[in-house]
Symmetry: none
Subunit: 231 residues, 2 copies
């Protein structure tokens, strides 16, 4: 899957940081030391470290060394909210129907977003979230197996995937994309939308320190859902 040498080194460093093996601000091994440790050439180590720096996991200072970065200031730009919490906050009842839960081969677009090869094994869940029994969100989620090995064994009627993943792989950063899309027939049926009703789709990718954890497609009925924000 993700087993080329530079990725092995990246993961090793990232997990070491996540595990607290190195404290914030502390110096990491030099490139030369990693060359010896992993028995690779310096270009390979360099690429791993450069990418970690791009991801703001480490900070590199020419002539000095590489250091564990201070964790990104988590300002409340766009908070990531749990659908169950949101519904509860409105004083309504949340329920969930688990429609699909399995390991699957990554489709081409998902593989590209995940940075893995097509047909790599991912965990997949399709869950319909209802508010007072009315469909509000169809959640289709792809999860990196090695970052949440027990993902398929949870009972998502009791805990949402987002809540579970937050526990086993705390999120470091995320990214969403919001689109307006017409649903296909499956989605229309599940969300019980009218003909000619669009869907608001949020595609959300979340990273823990160890890498990309999950890609979620959240489909909402256009007539019954809006995203709001203040600034």
């Amino acid at each position: 899957m993700t087993d080329s040498p530079y990725q092995v080194i990246k993961r090793s460093i990232a997990q070491g940081i996540a595990a607290g093996q190195w404290q914030v601000g502390q110096a990491l091994p030099s490139e030369h030391a990693l060359v010896r440790q992993f028995s690779v050439s310096r270009m390979t180590v360099n690429r791993a470290m450069r990418e970690l720096a791009n991801e703001n996991l480490i900070r590199r200072v020419p002539g000095v060394g590489s250091f564990v970065a201070v964790p990104a200031a988590q300002s409340a730009l766009v908070e990531i909210r749990d659908i169950a919490d949101e519904i509860a906050a409105r004083g309504h009842a949340h329920s969930a129907r688990i429609l699909h839960l399995a390991r699957i081969g990554a489709p081409a677009d998902v593989a590209a977003a995940f940075g893995v090869s097509v047909a790599s094994i991912l965990y997949f869940s399709r869950i319909l979230h209802l508010e007072d029994g009315v469909p509000l969100q169809l959640e289709q989620r792809y999860v990196a197996p090695h970052l949440a090995p027990a993902y398929l064994d949870q009972d998502y009627a009791l805990i949402t995937p987002h809540a579970y993943l937050s526990r086993v792989a705390p999120l470091r950063e995320g990214e969403h994309q919001v689109r307006a899309v017409m649903p296909d027939s499956l989605q229309t049926r599940l969300l019980q939308t009218e003909v000619d009703e669009a869907c608001l789709v949020v595609v959300r990718r979340t990273w823990s320190n160890a890498g990309l954890v999950s890609l979620a497609e959240l489909w909402h009925p256009g007539a019954r859902f809006a995203l709001t924000g203040k600034f």
Copy 2:
């Protein structure tokens, strides 16, 4: 400044794309060709191209080639940005068609959002923003007359309403709501959307220190526009 070989190559390709030297979807020169053209090693070309791919400027397909990526029109979820700036930042040309500019009586829903009585006088503008001649945003804006008395006298082909309002009534806070809606026939015609193409609608209210300045409905073609955000 930024004159190392891989950066020179990056800039060369990026500018070529911006200048239309290669069309969207078109194949770019292979790494081997670039090696000859720039007289560098393949690792150097590879780094340039890999970074362009990370920046979503090009798409690379192993065994096939590198191609100019479809320029995903994207806009920030949280920050409020001027549509003209956004388009310019992508290296494209912004233009605007002023469709309507007048004082009108507030419709019921707008009056409610503004906190004024129905049929109160508001300024109204309807402007179509185009990216390289293609419609990207239909802006329908209601403005409080006493907070921007000269609103109707501006030339919105030269300055966007948002830019003008930012000058005369600096925004203190704002609020948006994002929805997926099917356009009506007027909107379909103006935005040149396909049948069965939804619109992503942002309704944005902005306040200056003196009160609610403006309510804007921003309609975007669903197939050509997405909002993005990071956290």
